[in-house]
């Protein structure tokens, strides 16, 4: 690991000021991804600003929803009574992610900031436009079993690895971001980016900004399920995952929310499939039809061809499991 300087921030303002001063500085939260990236030489910050002591670890009910502080640990959010009661989909997604040890360390803000697990991104001997813009993409024409089927570019076909972010996308969450001058809010679905020609940018956070919270609005979703498909029963990144949330009344779908993980550079919202489900009976035919609509525009890269079959099956299955 390269040398770096270490600073502990006691206030949000001090943390932001320290980051603004040094363009190669980074915030350190749980460290579960960042410390690993530093060990591998993928990321070499000049300074780490430890934000673990910042008072951003509360879960509070607001007039319109739940506010989850950016420094809430994944395990605490997963077990929290308010999260379980109002957003069981989010609890399921948290529990599907990583291991108990990592969930004890990882924060909500850090989960949003985690980098792709593409093996070419981690191997500094290989080309990767995300790690080193202009060096090429090793995964296109290479080993790409885990890779994207939606929204990829000629520059990058990596996927975002989070489970939490998939649920928060489906739940229409909002991210609160503090900056050197002012606070701003951004829709969760607009936080992460597609790779386009700038795959080195995972999200729309600017240097000097700090995620302080996510807010999830209350909803009328009666039936939810988070389905994660992976190579082993637990403790593995998703081949793909589906967050399905429905409002079903008298057997009819009043509202549908669908998002997928492991299929794109960002959590992938299935807007057209949601529209197709609205007003339909909650049955196998509707689910399969919606799944087929969701797959429009999908494309695979060889090793991940199986995802073109797995994805619609998983969407239909997640909807079925949510509906029962």
């Amino acid at each position: 690991m390269n040398q770096f300087e270490y600073t502990r921030a006691s206030t949000q303002q001090a943390a932001i000021a320290a980051l603004v001063k040094d363009e190669h500085a980074m915030f350190l939260a749980g460290g579960t991804n960042l410390v690993d990236l530093m060990k591998r030489g993928v990321t070499s910050p000049s300074r780490l600003i430890d934000i673990n002591e910042l008072p951003l670890a509360a879960i509070e009910q607001t007039a319109t929803g739940l506010r989850i502080g950016a420094m809430v640990r994944n395990s605490d959010a997963a077990e929290h009574a308010l999260v379980n009661r109002h957003f069981p989909l989010l609890s399921m997604a948290f529990k599907a992610g990583a291991s108990p040890q990592l969930r004890n360390m990882a924060t909500v803000g850090g989960n949003m900031m985690q980098r792709t697990r593409c093996p070419y991104f981690y191997d500094t001997a290989m080309p990767c436009n995300k790690r080193e813009p202009g060096s090429g993409c090793g995964a296109i024409g290479g080993y790409n079993r885990m890779h994207a089927i939606f929204g990829a570019s000629e520059q990058c076909i990596a996927v975002h690895p989070s489970d939490m972010c998939v649920a928060l996308t489906a739940l229409d969450a909002t991210v609160t971001i503090a900056g050197p001058k002012a606070e701003r809010k951004i829709a969760f679905a607009d936080f992460h980016r597609l790779p386009g020609s700038t795959p080195q940018k995972d999200n729309n956070l600017q240097h000097g900004e700090l995620i302080t919270a996510v807010h999830i609005p209350f909803n009328h979703l009666t039936n939810v399920h988070y389905l994660k498909i992976r190579d082993r029963a637990s403790y593995a990144f998703a081949l793909l995952s589906v967050a399905a949330a429905l409002n079903i009344k008298s057997g009819t779908i009043r509202e549908a929310r669908l998002a997928m993980g492991g299929v794109a550079h960002k959590p992938w919202r299935l807007t057209e499939a949601e529209k197709a489900l609205k007003g339909q009976p909650a049955n196998e035919t509707s689910f399969k039809k919606a799944a087929a609509i969701a797959m429009e525009g999908a494309r695979s890269y060889g090793h991940n061809d199986f995802k073109l079959k797995l994805a619609p099956n998983a969407i239909a299955e997640a909807l079925r499991l949510a509906s029962v």
């Binding site: 270490y6 780490l48 291991s99 040890q101």
Partner: protein, 204 residues
Amino acid sequence: MHDPITPDPSRRSFLKRSSALAAISLTPPAMVRAAEKGFDEKIAGVFEKMPLSVTINGTKQQLSIEPRVTLLDLLREQLHLTGTKKGCDHGQCGACTVHVNGRRVNSCLTLALTTEGKQVTTIEGLSKGEQLHPMQEAFIEFDGFQCGYCTPGQIMSAVACVREGHANTPDQVREFMSGNICRCGAYSNIVDAVMNAKQGGKTI
């Protein structure tokens, strides 16, 4: 011709560069001495240590460490608490599991400086003298290991698993022990050990 009085700037810059390179990989004490003699003030920065006050297995430690030292390396290399194992060193195997303020974490991904003011418990801190912790006894009774390399991490994780309330059924134990990999494949005996320790009536 080389002027014996004027220092050769190219030679000096070469020395600086090469010493900085050596500083990353070789002989830190010699380089620190070199830095103290004013050869290169940058090198002093490279080896800047920071104070750390942390309680490990009930003993308060006042330490001075580099920011890049992980809790795992601090335990093993500086405090010689080698019960905590380095398996993958990337948070994938769980061999390095310890408790920080009572919560199980991967010590390989924990920078030691982030434990300032905290309580760390390792496998060495679990027993009371010669009296093994009930989870340690259960692992022996149920043969919860073969080679034993993952065992300290398994036991630290298992104790936390029970304390968290995640050891109610064998399936739940399997899910909540999934962060600890055992290459010998002693999993079924590990599940038996955890379940029996939990049901054994002793305080875990």
